[in-house]
Symmetry: C2
Subunit: 298 residues, 2 copies
DNA sequence: AGCATGAACTTTATCCATAAAAAACAACTT
DNA sequence: AAGTTGTTTTTTATGGATAAAGTTCATGCT
């Protein structure tokens, strides 16, 4: 059966809106809620129905009002708000990055399905999606081959990344003075400086900034293939560093400083300086990844 | 039910081997056939069984020999030797490139499934696979968006292609003198010259050469992401030109000449000359594609 | 007319079933 | 011991079913 994660997530969302006093007095219409929650009206209605049923809200002559205050165990557990496909992704990534899965291992759909508690279809769809990351390969009628999260992989990844980023940074710097992206860049710089001040406690926030920064650079002259490639990078890094936290603070602090230099280079519009800052930053990111790969081997 | 296309294809293969006298006297062992056909022994046995049943071969005290001569209608029809997934691919590409599918159209899995006569699962898997080509986009719980085989698409595609190819051509030229790839390049050049002589009748053969050439260039310093990207290109071109044959002969002849120039540039090891030939060739390929896109609009 | 709710219909996400194909195991032969 | 064939088990490719979520149609209210 299809999971009802969309509903549960929407429900939690409304509950927390009630809790935070974002919905005072008469509740918005179904259509308005639909817009705010980004789900269909069908789902909105289901949420409302349950809210009434639990007496969190009450409906009197067509007007819906908050009734009871929301408490902690009105919320559905987080795990129930994530669709199956996402769970498969997480479990697979853990299996791959954490387990002792060696390069050359073959991947068995049925076995993973059993292990993850889902139908084989879900596994297969995930693997198809995942195959574009270059880490697995399909052999028809036979199964999938895990090629390994190896040094080669990282080298090839960074080679492309470097090409793309140099290209995008260059084009970014060539934008007209009145482009709104310059203002965005300035704002991002401030965010960097702010984070740097609080780095001791807030170092986790870096990955959000990192993402924003690299995506911003691509915005100047969009290319879907570059965007897609950046998705690969984010994905890989997200999971890799999620299970590999050594030196996180230090790593992020260094990257933050590199970003600032890089941003200033962009602001200078000086090609040579830009290329240099870009190269330096990527070289450092690469070195960090390589180091952690070697650590994994042991 | 799973199709038995693997079996049928293997059967046809063996039948044509018998026909062509590639299997004289005692037939090879099951294991040997398995190796030659690239299928499992289970399938080999099924083929043999059917061959016996149809009296194409006979088995006398453990020895299998040809019995009857193979005739035209011993073969299974071609359509039955292609797996469902491939059919879906073909039908989808036709639907997309030939039909009046406009950018922005949304793609309905169920409707396609009905139209193509397959289960929705197959459509979905295809779409997931296809999504990396940058022509469609998934909107969760809702469906897929067809972004269109547009001018933008072609521009973005060629931008990346140019970056990759310049990089690969450069690295190719830097290979040591004793690399075996130089010999391969020379052989390919001869094949080009040969084809040029027969271009009037054999112009269809160009696409095979084109593929070999571009893949050869990448071989010097492999990068999986570049290979993958080249898969996208081949795929797109394959289908696009399959339904768009205008000027095919002339187009191929021009490309053949460009390739020869390009190969000679590589052989010269002269960077400037290489970059120039590479650019010229890609610019021309791009112009051809753009022209045919505009033709489509009308 | 324009927006709200209610109800019916359609499509997606997900599981399950099964024949075909592959792989593993077993017994036999040289 | 290594290669054959026979048999059994496992896995993949494909179809089908269904609850959840999305969309459309209908009705009613300002």
């Amino acid at each position: 059966m299809r999971t009802d994660t969309v509903y549960k997530k929407a429900f939690n969302r409304v509950a927390s809106m009630l809790h935070d006093g974002e919905l005072v007095g008469e509740l918005p219409s179904e259509n308005e809620l639909k817009r705010r929650l980004g789900v269909s009206r069908t789902t909105v209605r289901k949420v409302l129905q349950e809210l009434v049923h639990r007496k969190l809200i009450a409906e009197r002559n067509g007007i819906r009002m908050a009734e009871r205050t929301v408490d902690e165990n009105d919320y559905y557990p987080d795990a129930e708000t994530t669709p199956r496909a996402k769970h498969v992704e997480q479990q697979f990534m853990e299996w791959m990055l954490r387990g002792d899965t060696r390069p050359g291992t073959s991947i068995n759909e049925l076995e993973l399905a059993r292990q993850f508690g889902v139908a084989t279809n879900g596994i297969r769809e995930f693997l198809i999606r995942f195959s574009r990351f270059g880490l697995i390969e399909k052999r028809p009628n036979t199964g999938w081959l895990f090629k390994g999260f190896t040094e080669d992989f990282a080298l090839e990844l960074f080679e492309i990344r470097m090409m793309f980023e140099l290209r995008s940074a260059h084009l970014f710097s060539q934008q007209p003075e009145n482009s709104p992206l310059w203002a965005k860049l300035a704002a991002l710089k401030i965010a960097h400086v702010d984070l740097l001040k609080r780095i001791e406690s807030r170092f986790h926030d870096f990955s959000g900034l990192d993402n924003r920064f690299h995506r911003l650079i691509n915005e100047a002259s969009p290319n879907r293939f570059i965007d897609d490639f950046y998705d690969i990078i984010s994905f890989i890094f997200h999971y890799h560093y999620q299970w590999n936290k050594q030196d996180e603070k230090q790593r992020n602090k260094a990257a933050l400083l590199e970003h600032i230099t890089y941003i200033e280079a962009l602001e200078s519009r000086n090609s040579v300086r830009i290329a240099k800052a870009c190269r330096a930053h990527l070289a450092s990111a690469k070195a960090t990844l390589m180091r952690s790969l070697i650590a994994l081997e042991e």
